[in-house]
Amino acid sequence: MIRSDNNRFGKPLYILYPGDHHAAADNSLIATVVGSCVAVCLYDYRKMIGGVGHFIVPGSIGTEGIIADEVAAQGITSMEHLIGEIVKLGGDRKSFRATLYGAGEFSGDHGLDNVAGSNIQFLHEYFKLEKIQVAREDLGGNYRRKIFFCPRTGSSFRKILMNNRDHSEFMRLESEYINGVFGNNERFGKVLLFD
């Protein structure tokens, strides 16, 4: 993530890179670009705190759903990182509203079938289990999206990038991030026992 203070919006702009998340309560903007990845915008409408997470669920989810699934566990953990930051600022998932973007489908993507489909399935199941209202979703399609989100108001803006060369540097980073998580989808956290 980088922060820019000199920009045309006249307020701090946080640009999320693939795999990043950020939450805030101030009058700032969070922006990112998603192709195959998803951008989840969460807003606590009682506390006026919001955040964005950029991630991908690395593979397909088994028929038993996301609870018993080790691929889905990576997506759940990405959501936990984002929600944890909002909770640290005083938020509570009971008053969250979500807006979902991304999961674009591109032919020949990462040599894996239906990554977009499993990411969309993940988001649907996750928000249902969490009982978090999805205010708007804009998922799928074969285009990339540029997202702006205001954490203080919860409003978001999406621009479709029809030209696939737009933001090509960003797309290269997304591709690197995706290859990284797909190559290492057995990523589990450390386990410590104190004596």
């Binding site: 566990a73 759940i76 640290k88 509570d92 289990l129 969490e130 956290g189």
Partner: protein
């Protein structure tokens, strides 16, 4: 009846921990924050039953995990408390240990690891 109390603000996480520990033969209880858990522990003990283990998240509204461990240790010095969190920073882990945690797992967890560590702790 022996209980395992799973304390996390995420229903998805609470259900997946329950799923992982299903075969162990404990009564599984859920709480959505530290203060909810303290009340539920009290009511279990009030019925003359035992809490064998608490599995607790760190970032939760109302009462976070570190505060919970401190409060829980005032009334129960020995029941193991296992932290399950996305936090992996040294300082946080140290604070958890000092508050009285017995172990620390960084999310996501492998079901087998969860089983193994829980069996070690409840022994």
């Amino acid at each position: 009846m022996k209980h395992i109390m799973v304390i996390d603000d995420s229903p998805t996480i609470r259900t997946s921990v329950e799923f992982a520990l299903n075969g162990l033969g404990y009564a599984m209880d859920q709480a959505e924050n530290g203060s909810d858990a303290l009340e539920k522990v009290k009511s279990i003990k009030g019925k003359g039953e035992d809490v064998a283990l608490c599995i607790v998240d760190i970032n939760m509204p109302v009462m976070d995990g570190i505060t919970f461990i401190g409060e829980f240790r005032k009334v129960d010095r020995f029941t193991p408390v296992l932290v399950l969190t996305t936090e992996s920073e040294e300082g946080k882990i140290k604070a958890g240990k000092e508050a009285g945690a017995s172990g620390w797992i960084v999310k996501p967890f492998k079901n087998q690891d969860m089983m193994d560590i829980v069996q070690k702790l409840v022994k």
